[in-house]
């Protein structure tokens, strides 16, 4: 299979993952679209390293999170995203308004956390176990447990939304 086709396949299989990362690290649709495209671009740039990676799933999570973090910390110079059908999703057009509200609320609460905690919650919600989270994020397994407990506490305590 050609390099380009392998890349397309990887993105198509993981476009949902890219979308979810972009959503927790951005505030509006324009930023989200830009970040989605940045993640795809960074994946393309380092695609040869991906093919050598021992754990491809871990690799993509890491690239996605690191791209989001780097984008947020860099200067605000933005390059307008190319409008593209497919990477951006409009879940707010869902018929079920209660679920729609719950999703909106969930994102709002996650966005109140620090950058690292946001990533940890994201991986937890993705069903990753403590060992996998530790490997992707670059902290110890014990630290993952401690941080998740603190995050739960934070959510219980002060996070109140409509």
């Amino acid at each position: 299979m050609k390099r380009e086709d392998e890349f397309i396949q990887l993105i198509q299989e993981n476009q949902g993952l890219i979308y979810k990362i972009a959503t927790i690290y951005t505030r509006d649709r324009e930023e989200q679209e830009d970040l989605c495209q940045e993640i795809v671009y960074q994946t393309w740039k380092s695609f040869d390293q991906f093919k050598k990676a021992s754990k491809p799933s871990t690799w993509l999570y890491r690239v996605g999170m690191n791209t989001a973090i780097t984008n947020l910390n860099r200067s605000k110079k933005r390059v307008t995203a190319v409008p593209m059908d497919g990477l951006e999703l409009n879940l707010m057009e869902d018929d079920d308004s209660q679920k729609e509200e719950q999703i909106r609320q969930m994102y709002a609460e996650i966005r109140k956390l620090g950058l690292l905690d946001r990533g940890i919650v994201f991986l937890f919600l993705e069903g990753k176990n403590h060992e996998e989270i530790a490997e992707i994020v670059g902290i110890s397994v014990t630290n993952v447990g401690t941080r998740l407990s603190r995050i739960k506490e934070k959510l219980r305590k002060g996070v109140q939304t409509y």
């Binding site: 690799w59 059908d85 609320q105 690292l116 919600l125 109140q160």
Partner: protein
Amino acid sequence: MYMIMELEEMKSIWGDLSGKVENQKKIKKEELMKMTRKKYQNSLGKIYLPEILGSVISFIYAAYFITQFGRLQLPVNQVFAVFNTAIMIILPTISLITLYKLNKLDIVRESPMELLQKFKKNSVFFRNFQKVTLILSGMFAITILPPLAELLGKVDMISNTKFWIVYVPIGLICVYIFGSWAFRKYDKALQKAQDLLEGIE
């Protein structure tokens, strides 16, 4: 209605969301490759042009002072010229090195934790660097005029006490106003960055 969302509850909502996301139509190959190529071109275009341009102008000024140094007769102007030249070389160089470091972060090999630690370190350095830069800019604004005036044959202007009576206070007020404004902006930006980096030891 006030609600408190538990992590476990989020997990169930996340499951629904993931299901919906998976059912979205797949992105088309042509679109994806077109976007990737466009992004590549854009990334080449955004190589921090203002910073590079500013540095080039500073280096040209520094080169001018170095080549014209022999023409300065007044010892005080020689000292000012050395000081100004050093500023025009050192500050842009540090700024360019910082940008280079920011751009060479390895998002594949480094973990998110390592990246965040680097960002935290950089933000502290950047804050201190800006403080020093603002102070030096004030001193620069005052000291650049005498050697420049001598080189342009306008020694009379800087020998005139009235000129200094007007120039120094106005210069200091401008530096103070600009400095306060810039510090307020940096403080706000830094606070925002600190909030985002919360929990990084």
